[in-house]
């Protein structure tokens, strides 16, 4: 029982990181309907942004800002410089998917040239595990969960209670209708990519701090877990994604207590495949539809 509870405790931390990364992915997908295979690279860019800031400043706040800024700049540039021209030329959705695959490959390898393939790490103080209720957490773990809660709460407030949030939800519901009612759709889409990058960059920083090492593939290897959480929650439903992240995170860490740790991600993939097969519109969707265009 204690093993199970410890697993759940670690799972909550993992789930926080997954939630950050996949809510950003899901939000972006809900507005732009672009499946972004380069989402993992936004995380990596954030992680390296924070690393650069650390060598320059040694200030945690500036590191976080650098991570978020790096993610936002890359995501916005990706949309403006590459995706929009493709969409204007009438590219099909599968073409766009391949385009993001290529962009991801480019970013990953530019980082490989710039920083080398050897893992680097942030200078963080050593954290000890301590008993918190039934769970074993470090101070870092607690910070990660608090930061996730804070970020998601902020996002919720922006989505629910600001004019921009309202127009964003309108575009996500029905882009044509939103445009007819006078919403500047391209601007909303561009800003959504920016928000996606902000959160993804931060998620990359948190992921790298939690894992303890940064490599150019850190985000890519996290990508399928992000896909899993997003699909289980219903692709393009940011709130459902949150539950998906919780499910995946806890399932991964609890399984690690009973199976070899290398199967952790396979558990996430297996849950993903089961969801795709039986409820492709997500566990929480009220109605099942086929994803054929």
């Amino acid at each position: 029982m204690t093993i199970l509870l410890h697993g759940v405790g670690f799972g909550l931390v993992t789930a926080s990181i997954i939630a950050l990364a996949s809510v950003a992915f899901s939000l972006q997908f809900s507005v732009t309907t672009t499946p972004n295979f380069a989402h993992g690279e936004l995380l990596t860019v954030g992680a390296y942004g924070a690393l650069v800031a650390q060598t320059l400043t040694h200030s945690l706040i500036l590191e976080i800002i650098a991570a978020m800024a790096a993610g936002a700049v890359v995501a916005s540039a990706m949309n403006l410089a590459i995706l929009q021209p493709f969409l204007k030329a009438g590219a099909k959705r599968l073409t766009i998917f391949l385009v993001t695959v290529s962009i991801g490959l480019v970013i990953q390898n530019v980082l490989l040239i710039a920083f080398g393939g050897a893992p680097s790490a942030y200078e963080l103080p050593a954290f000890d595990l301590k008993q918190v209720g039934p769970f074993l957490w470090t101070t870092l773990d607690e910070w990660i969960m608090l930061a996730t809660l804070g970020t998601l709460l902020l996002l919720h407030i922006v989505l629910r209670y600001t004019k921009f949030g309202k127009s964003l939800r309108a575009v996500s519901d029905n882009p044509q209708l939103a445009r007819v009612t006078g919403i500047n759709t391209p601007r909303v889409i561009q800003l959504t990519w920016g928000i996606d990058g902000l959160i993804a960059g931060f998620a990359g920083f948190v992921l790298a701090a939690y894992v303890g090492s940064i490599t150019p593939t850190i985000g890519f290897s996290f990508l399928v877990v992000v896909f899993a959480a997003s699909v289980i929650g219903g692709l393009g439903r940011p709130y459902g994604t949150l539950v998906g992240a919780l499910l995946i995170g806890v399932a991964m860490e609890v399984s690690a207590s009973y199976l070899p740790a290398e199967y952790k991600t396979s558990v996430a993939f297996a849950l993903l495949i089961l969801t795709l097969l039986f409820r492709p519109s997500g566990v929480f969707a009220t109605q099942i539809w086929k994803f054929s265009e």
Partner: protein, 336 residues
């Protein structure tokens, strides 16, 4: 120098076979399939354990199943059968209600699970260390020197590639090939004409899997060793790049694309001067070059260098003139 060209050409023709396999799935059927490289790997492993002698009993560093010491043809057939069966299972499940991006995510996850299982479960294919020490096919009969043998093996690969190309060209212009492309263009319309999209897609998926298994068997018998390092998601992008650049749903385009990607881009960038302090730079530059070329093609020539050939109104399916001549001769030989 000649050795170098022979080895590059051998690898290109092996990879061209797997590119043709993906072309059946992605070009003809329009399936966004990531599983194809996993099938190449699976074919390689299965070929290896069929042709290798039984694993030594008392060596914990070398464990694998089977070990049947069978000759090359048995190994190839075994590899093709297993990859075909696995494709049948994956395809039967995935093709039911998943399309496009969701199909891509599903097959991507499946191949990662397969990689995790093969790396972890040592008794199957010796885990991370993989299989090694394979014999050169047919050389126990031919007794050729290494140099002569490399030419022989190149010939074997080229003949396999050509036969696969002929077979696929035949299927491409057959009624089934037309049905498949009709389904790709408009599934509902094709279904309205009484064609089952599911069956047609599944057939194409299995056909692609069998061909991928052949290329896996050839690859491992050329490399004489195979492990999980030889098998990363990046390889799948390479195979997609070959098709996008050479020409989607065009057999000759797929082969041309393999020459461009594996020959020009991959081998060409090998001669770049090394950058001191950046040991990873050459491979990174190679990957960036591929991705950028792919982006350029997707943007300005999405159909590839050699675009898909279409039937004109009222014209029967017509492949190129030499192929037509060959077929009519075959038909005469069969007394038709």
């Amino acid at each position: 120098m000649i050795d170098y060209f022979v080895s590059v050409l051998t690898l290109i023709s092996i990879f061209a076979i797997v590119v043709l396999a993906l072309n059946v799935r992605w070009g003809w059927a329009g399936e966004f399939d990531f599983f194809v490289y996993g099938l190449l790997a699976l074919g390689a492993y299965v070929y290896a354990v069929i042709t290798l002698p039984p694993a030594p009993k008392n060596d914990p560093g070398l464990i694998y199943m089977l070990g049947l010491s069978q000759p090359f043809p048995v190994g190839v057939l075994g590899a093709m059968t297993v990859t075909g069966l696995v494709s049948l299972i994956v395809g039967a499940v995935a093709l039911r209600n998943l399309r496009q991006v969701f199909f891509g995510i599903m097959t991507f996850s499946s191949v990662l699970i397969m990689a995790a299982v093969i790396s972890q479960e040592t008794p199957i294919f010796n885990g991370y260390n993989g299989v090694f020490g394979l014999a050169q096919p047919f050389n126990d009969l031919l007794q050729l020197s290494d140099e002569q043998y490399s030419f022989f093996f190149l010939g074997l690969c080229l003949v396999s590639l050509f036969l696969i190309y002929l077979l696929l060209e035949r299927i491409f212009w057959s009624p089934y090939g037309l049905v498949l492309r009709a389904i790709r263009e408009d599934e509902v319309a094709a279904a309205a004409f009484g064609k089952s999209p599911y069956t047609a897609r599944l057939k194409a998926y299995v056909l692609g899997g069998v061909i991928a298994g052949l290329s896996g068997a050839l690859l491992v018998s050329y490399l004489t060793a195979f492990n999980t390092d030889a098998w990363t998601p990046q390889e799948t992008v390479l195979i997609f790049a070959c098709i996008i650049i050479g020409g989607t749903a065009n057999g000759r385009g797929a082969i041309l694309g393999s020459f461009i990607v594996f020959g020009l881009i991959l081998e060409g960038t090998r001669f770049l001067p090394p950058i001191p302090g950046h040991p990873d730079a050459p491979s990174a530059v190679r990957a960036i070059a591929i991705a950028v070329v792919m982006l350029v093609f997707l943007r300005w020539r999405p159909q590839g260098i050699l675009p898909e050939r279409h039937l004109k109104d009222g014209e029967p399916g017509q492949p190129s003139a030499p192929l037509r001549a060959l077929w009519s001769r075959l038909r005469v030989a069969r007394g038709r």
